[in-house]
Symmetry: C2
Subunit: 325 residues, 2 copies
């Protein structure tokens, strides 16, 4: 039996607040049943990689590019944004972060990484202008252990017709704290953490890299702006540079502590305000980027209870990450 192409369907049941997308497509063959199926063999640069220069016609036409030279959809770009050929939802873009097939973000020159951050901000702002989306999610999968299906560096952005469950949960907690303390819980915690120091990995004039008190994963770290800001769309140019530096330091440190020969793998994702302005969000929430190294796999404990088991306390993780800088 094969389904026809159709719109993705979003479902929530009576039993929990989680939600599921059913991705349209063909599901006749067993290989179609595996989310994010991996290619059978490793890709080579320019051989089978639609994100390499010279293969621009293998993706849908670009919607944005940083392009010092050349015409649209030809080589000469530094960063290229294209619609995903296999979208989850109706607005799903891929931000191809560099023409270099085998690079990883911390290998890029800092100025280039600043341009990547600026591309994130511009596309997030553009997608947020579409009335259909309540939230725009930005995330990255690096390495097969993190669910990546392609080697060539890229992040993803999806417009969502609902505020997703994890953001709703953070907003609920933030509003509750604000109502009690008249303060953003992230600003409050950041002040305490900076004074204490033991979980701080890196800081510059605008950003902090920090192993959170209840980190779920070994070497998990979060990047937050020092000044209160709920909405990533308001990022200033000086903050984009500072965020690029913080991201470079965080990813490079995690890569240095990574136990070989396990292949390096991480996800990151942005948590920011929903698209529609809301004063209770503006005052209580604080955007942040969470970096999740993927050393282990979730098992029955996590799936069954929502409790995580983590062998590396964040104080130890931060110490090792600082030493790796």
């Amino acid at each position: 039996m094969e389904r026809q192409e159709s719109s993705p369907e979003l479902r929530q049941d009576l039993f929990t607040e989680r939600a599921v997308w059913y991705i349209p497509g063909r599901i006749g063959r067993p290989s179609d049943w595996v989310p994010r199926a991996q290619p059978e063999e490793g890709e080579e640069p320019g051989r089978g990689c639609p994100f390499c220069p010279g293969h621009e016609e293998e993706t849908p036409p670009e919607v944005w590019a940083l392009r010092p030279e050349g015409d649209a959809n030809t080589p000469g770009w530094q960063i290229r944004v294209v619609p995903n050929k296999y979208p989850i939802g109706e607005a799903h873009e891929l931000i191809v972060e560099t023409p270099q097939h085998g690079a990883d973000l911390p290998d890029l020159p800092l100025e280039h990484l600043g341009d990547v951050v600026e591309a994130y901000r511009e596309r997030l702002t553009a997608l947020s202008e579409d009335e259909r989306w309540e939230y725009v999610s930005l995330f990255k999968n690096h390495g097969r252990g993190a669910g990546a299906t392609r080697i060539h560096p890229h992040s993803q952005m999806v417009g969502l017709p609902l505020v997703p469950p994890l953001i709703e949960e953070e907003l609920r907690c933030a509003r509750r704290f604000y109502d009690r303390e008249r303060r953003c819980p992230y600003c409050h915690t950041l002040a305490e953490e900076l004074a204490r120091g033991e979980r701080v990995v890196f800081r510059n004039g605008e950003m902090v890299v920090w192993s959170p008190y209840a980190a779920r994963m070994s070497f998990e770290c979060w990047i937050l702006p020092l000044s209160h800001a709920a909405d990533f769309r308001a990022l200033a140019p000086s903050q984009a540079e500072a965020l690029a530096e913080a991201l470079q330091k965080a990813l490079a440190a995690v890569r240095r502590v990574w136990p070989s020969p396990r292949p390096f793998a991480y996800n990151f994702y942005l948590h920011t305000a929903p698209t529609r302005p809301d004063p209770s969000v503006e005052r209580a929430y604080h955007w942040h980027l969470e970096v999740l190294p993927r050393l282990g796999r979730l098992a029955g404990l996590e799936w069954g209870t929502g409790l995580y088991a983590n062998p590396v306390p964040p104080e130890v993780a931060a110490e090792k990450l600082r030493a790796a800088l």
Copy 2:
């Protein structure tokens, strides 16, 4: 730097309702940083497997056994329950389900699987009597893709000093539905699903195997009792046999549809009432066992939003699972 052995520490932060255990132990070597690290090479029966007969002295002394012959902590057992040498929390037991190193639950005779279910019920009841535990979690990891660290079939049971986040969420949703409809949402949905039929995989006189409307994973299925029951501890002997049959059918069907050559991997876990009696739980909640085939890996979308992307709608999954029976 090496930490000393100490009690596990449970942490929750201000930002979400999730919780994290920091597992005590040594964290000096990089291999200690990987949750559920796998042995470097596959285990052989009787070689390095502490769960095989003849190796009883390699585990802490048994706390329960189904033992047709022999003395405690010697061969002759059919099912053996031992404290975990590497506990998460203070009460963490392993239920070794068979002396056969390479068997999987659906390979066991139905009567033996009924005894396994009865062992689950007995140990869950015994751990629940300890005043320290608000909840007792039962779960199984089968295959490396599901986070299993040992091949020899076993499930795990952990006494928890809190009602875990996912159970709190289900209880909140169930109470909300009950307050509106004066009915358990699981009973309500089960009646509709049985009438409709398309998501039902199997049923006998006591149990239903069913692909839920908002299944997160390809071929996810849940097992529920037909009669309303919040608490697994009240399972009757006839229900234990029926549950064994339902579990055997569900796991055998998932294994048959599994796309080769990917190694078979699944988790299951029980969701049941917290240890302390509560009339609002008794009337609104319904225990169930969730089987999660682990075909894919979570990626940035799921980690970042709590939304799942599933390529196989449950109607299609149920059809393929029914055909595999």
